[in-house]
């Protein structure tokens, strides 16, 4: 079924087009969040791994 308000409405313009903008914005914000945080996780892990390697080389892996 098609969204019915495809004609301009008094005082509001074309509602269906405006709604599509909000829907796309919501999904886009979600993906920016998901991808952005994934990159953050990946980088944090790389930095931590490097730090651990350095610590092991410098101080030895005494356990």
């Amino acid at each position: 079924m098609n969204w019915p308000i495809t004609q301009p409405c008094a005082g509001r313009g074309i509602v269906s087009e405006q709604n599509n903008t909000f829907i796309i914005a919501a999904f886009a914000v979600t993906w920016v969040c998901v991808i952005g945080y994934a990159v953050h996780l990946y980088r944090a892990r790389r930095v931590a791994d490097a730090r651990l390697r350095e610590a092991q080389q410098t101080f030895g892996g005494r356990t």
Partner: protein
């Protein structure tokens, strides 16, 4: 300090390759599929038309934020009880993911509110209590970055984390306790079946990603902790200057 360092170090040093990245990739694939399913399969709502589809991102973010804060509460409690560093690191990881999801919930709620309610924001109880929850966990993360001493940081964090998590039931019940602009929680009774399944599938997809993020963040935190402990032990043995 560092009661269980030896065990942590041993675990980290001998750990097999981290399998969690594949869970993350799986989560992303499932999320894409869930969103495509939701957008394609559900009809427009009789009142808000296709804007109903924002439900598939807003509601899973909100539910999973609450789950993440439940993890914070349990890990913080166990830290205060047993004092294991691992619990503090787990609480911090879940708090970071929970804060992110709460921020996302607020942003998506604003995007949904503007075309449906007519406003981006209003100071009503559900929105205000969610904002308080968000800022408490932002404060939690800022607090952690300011305190260097591990035990003190862990103790304060556990207290703030518990206080913050206490907000979760208040946020959840706010729409029943007070007059709000936000509607009551929907249930399978008030949702057509064409909306319930896409919502559940999307919620599970976000839950997979959340679990992945918390575990991944936790393993990173353990790695950092292990590196710090190695340096501390070396310093205690007087080897701090050997480079």
């Amino acid at each position: 300090m560092g009661v269980s360092v030896d065990r942590l170090v041993a675990a980290r040093v001998t750990a097999p390759r981290d399998p969690t990245p594949w869970i993350g990739v799986l989560g992303i694939v499932v999320l894409v599929a869930a969103q495509v399913y939701g957008v394609i399969s559900s009809p427009p709502d009789r009142d808000m038309g296709h804007l109903q589809k924002i439900m598939y991102v807003h509601v899973p973010a909100a539910w999973n934020a609450m789950l993440a804060f439940l993890v914070v509460a349990l890990a913080s409690l166990r830290y205060l009880w047993k004092g294991r560093p691992a619990d503090d690191l787990l609480a911090a990881s879940a708090a970071e993911v929970g804060a992110l999801l709460t921020g996302l919930t607020l942003a998506l709620g604003m995007i949904w509110g503007k075309p449906t309610w007519g406003v981006w924001w209003t100071w009503e109880p559900r929105l205000t209590s969610t904002a308080v929850l968000f800022f408490m966990f932002v404060a939690y993360l800022i607090l952690r970055s300011f305190v260097d001493d591990f035990e003190r940081r862990a103790q304060w964090s556990a207290v703030v984390g518990l206080l913050g998590a206490l907000n979760v039931p208040i946020v959840y019940m706010s729409v029943r306790w007070w007059r709000t602009l936000h509607q009551l929680q929907s249930s399978p009774m008030t949702l057509d079946s064409s909306y319930t399944w896409p919502l559940r599938v999307n919620a599970v997809a976000v839950m997979l990603l959340m679990a992945f993020a918390i575990v991944h963040r936790y393993r990173t935190a353990v790695t950092e902790y292990t590196a710090d402990e190695l340096a501390d032990h070396a310093a205690l043995r007087g080897e701090g200057n050997r480079v």
